[in-house]
Symmetry: C2
Subunit: 527 residues, 2 copies
């Protein structure tokens, strides 16, 4: 059997054609995105839905990071109670000290702290939108058939409930596993590693101990992290409705991963896996980059980016990288906007933005130096390029851990970056062919699927519009409280029944014993 | 939004074309089927794999029910220690008394008893195959790349292990939920109804009590039902290997249902849902049947079959049906091989075999009278025809319950069939349009999928051959015992730690108290 040889039947092609002959009625889609890298892949689906004839309206906050207008979709800009400068400075503080702080146990709490700061500001933005009566009325009469949103922030789910339309979620996951809880997906702590635990799916006894303990810490922190969203939800819908309860009504969860990245675990019928949606389409390289890549000879080249939010770093740290690149025969193309040293090595090309996925698709791409965001990781997997990873914040540590455990990546903590560590890691990964072999095997498995992730995401979005949701995929567990879910009431009842039966039996025996033998004993005594 | 309007992108079509341009290397597939109705849908996949250029060899027992040779695939016939007459008589005894025994609580045990009788005979057949040294040697050198089997019987999984090739399972499910257990799929008894419990996914407290109790009974009976298979597995591979452990190594579980039939519940990454695989393809009706159906006027016609194994019934029972059909305006086409009365009503056409799916596809098909096997049920769903159901044995009671609960079917116990009950049920279902409406909605949801079930089954079969299994979809839970899986060892350890800490703290406090206050008390007393 060769690889990637799936052959559609004539039947399938006829079937596809039949479907394509059906009339496409444009649906009306309201999009409530999350800014930053979250938007970059959601945009792909938004544009595709628009291309297929749906009328798409994207809600855009006045102060924003990466969300922009486009000819493909309409935008509605809404006012938020924070300025662009305030938003920028919040992210600037996130970028600060990334490279000069040693990794520490307290990083977990720092991450939580950052998240709470971020979510509280975003909750303010959401409140402003919901209080914007004219805009809400305007949206209400539009007659949307579906809300596409990322439940990382609450506004999309709230709007879906207000307008009584189904919601489709587009996400990588939620902090502290709220997505798993909200979709009622079982997640046994004995083999599903908890965020920040540093575990894989195969754990020793002690690792399982830390995993369980982390899961308790996580569920406690969940309360803190989502307090602003819980308040907002409860204020909006009353009855003490929590954020988890609100988002549990999502019709379909489009999850940006698959099991070449994530460890296998139980899933739910309304979870759809669209990992790699951001790297499915490739475009030719610009002429200069094509020449740069082609001309890299047998040594090939390295692609180096640290994500959409981190284009720079302290000068001293950058020097370590420049010095490292000076010592290797590979060419390097680096997304970097910081000040350049006087003697930039000749093999290094610094750019403000680069077509990462298309560069990685070039056969001479040897190593991908990345921070470990899921977009970048999937571009590495799609193109079969081993990765040298510098996790910075958020889920990046966990992401990187998954890739290192699979033997397709090496990791250097941003704090520990020196010329020597970078050169040694690059040499090791290029000389030891096993990194490339494992990555290519992983890539082949990832790419070998019955339907591409973008088509799958479009299919389920349209399905939800066609059938006004997907109630046949919603488990009845949503109607149970945790006591009922775990059958604790039933077990308590059965134990009570057994105890009563035992008690009655014992009492009856005692009574009979007393009646029969008691007389004899009395008789004997009297004798 | 119209229904069924999924529109493949140009991207998808290009992608399909690219894949189809890849060279298809024929794989070598060994098929170990289960006889009876199980074979009828597996045959569809077997033929399709063969059509796509794979070399397929089907193992066929000398004494058999429905498995036959074909030009599409090779067969290897193996001897079994029971004759055709013995096999036939076993099934004859199954058919006996189906119509003249009232439903009873003990039916559950009767079902188990029948299953044990069946599996013990089949285990003998399997033993004979495994002891057939020449045949096994011959198969070993063939170099199969995959075993396609139904784990309802053990031989296929055993052969896959002996030949060290991955196994793909094709099944509806296994008695007492062994498929769920073996694939490590969580199945909370609080909302996943247990077989024979008569529950749906929404249960009252008392229903949850019966569900839990049935799940205990079930797990006890599992041991009895699979004893012959456990013995066989253990004898073959030693180390007390159980049948559950053996089949847990299946690479992919192709499950013949989806969530228009089954209630939604957690699933596993290596479970693939191919419900409706048996009704995806349609053929034109033979001319006489076409005329019969077309000529049925506005009243339409009824299709009546009781499955591949039950083509007849006691004469007295058949009379009730004939008399019922005499009273309705619909035409009836009935698969029936029993003796005919003198006065067969003019609107009834009796046939030895009928193209069930193609008949149901006719727009004038009003009601499908069926026993509730999953094949028939999916033909009803595919074609949107409401069903009048007569569950006979095995899982049929549960199947029928699912359809009745969805409001697309009515049920009459075979024992309670009279002219009056049949006429009343048919009239009700035809006059009350809601049955048809609900069934059509269900049908639209079932048919609205990104890829057809046969193509999906072929894809995953070929995937397993291309990648020598699907280990990336195998959960690490398989490496844990139940104690570890539920983290009971970890919880025990943590409780012990807490107790030790508490004890040490209390002892320390007592010691300090004694040291500090003890002296004072002594001093006070001495004063």
């Amino acid at each position: 059997m060769g690889s990637r040889v799936w052959f559609p039947t004539a039947g399938l092609l006829v079937w596809l054609c039949c479907l394509s002959l059906g009339t496409v009625h444009g649906g009306k889609v309201l999009v409530m995105p999350v800014d930053g890298s979250h938007w970059l892949s959601m945009k792909i689906l938004v544009k595709e839905l628009s291309r297929r004839g749906h009328e798409v309206t994207v809600l855009v906050p006045e102060s924003r990071l990466l969300i922009q207008g486009s000819d493909s979709y309409k935008t509605k800009i809404y006012q938020v109670p924070y300025t662009q400068a305030e938003l920028d400075s919040q992210f600037e503080s996130l970028r600060e000290r990334l490279f000069d702080t040693p990794p520490h146990f307290t990083d977990f709490f720092v991450n939580v702290d950052r998240l709470v700061a971020f979510t509280s500001v975003q909750a303010l933005g959401c409140k402003a939108l919901l209080n914007n009566e004219p805009l809400i009325s305007q949206l209400r009469v539009e007659g949307f058939e579906m809300v596409l949103t990322d439940p990382f922030l609450p506004c999309g789910s709230i709007l879906a409930k207000i307008f009584s339309v189904p919601a489709v979620y587009f996400l990588r996951g939620l902090p502290c596993g709220l997505d798993t809880q909200a979709s009622q997906c079982p997640s046994p702590a004995s083999y599903v590693p908890v965020s920040f635990s540093g575990n894989t799916n195969n754990m020793t006894f002690l690792q399982r101990v830390t995993n369980i303990m982390m899961s308790y810490v996580e569920s406690y922190l969940c309360g803190i992290m989502y307090k602003h969203f819980d308040d907002l939800t409860s204020m909006q819908f009353g009855n003490g409705m929590t954020y988890k309860e609100l988002i549990s009504h999502g019709a379909i969860w489009l999850l940006r991963y698959d099991f070449t990245f994530e460890w296998p675990k139980p899933v739910m019928p309304n979870q759809v896996f669209i990992g790699g949606i951001n790297c499915a389409k490739k475009a030719p390289l610009p002429a200069d980059l094509q020449e740069f890549a082609d001309g890299s000879g047998d040594d090939g080249f390295i692609v180096f980016t640290l994500g959409s939010l981190v284009a720079s770093m302290p000068e001293e740290k950058a020097k370590q990288f420049f010095d490292a690149f000076r010592q290797i025969p590979q060419r390097v193309v680096w997304r970097y906007t910081g000040p350049l040293p006087k003697d930039v090595p000749k093999n290094v090309r610094v750019m403000k933005w680069l077509p990462q996925n298309d560069l990685l698709a070039h056969p001479k791409a040897k190593v991908f130096m990345t921070h470990g965001g899921t977009h970048g990781i999937y571009e590495g997997i799609c193109n079969g390029v081993p990765m040298l990873m510098f996790p910075l914040f958020g889920d990046q540590g966990d992401n990187v851990h998954r890739m290192v455990a699979r033997g397709v990546a090496e990791k250097i903590s941003a704090f520990e970056v020196t010329t020597e560590t970078v050169v040694a890691a690059l040499k090791k990964m290029i000389q030891d062919k096993s990194y490339k072999e494992r990555m290519e095997a992983l890539s082949q498995i990832h790419l070998d699927r019955p339907i591409g992730p973008l088509d799958l995401a479009v299919f389920w979005s349209e399905f939800v519009m066609r059938h006004k949701g997907a109630p046949h995929l919603r488990v009845a567990a949503h109607d149970l409280n945790w006591f009922q879910y775990h059958s604790l009431d039933v077990i308590g009842f059965l134990v009570a029944v057994v105890l009563v039966v035992l008690w009655v039996t014992l009492k009856s025996c005692a009574f009979i014993f007393h009646k029969c033998c008691g007389k004899r004993i009395v008789k004997k005594k009297s004798e």
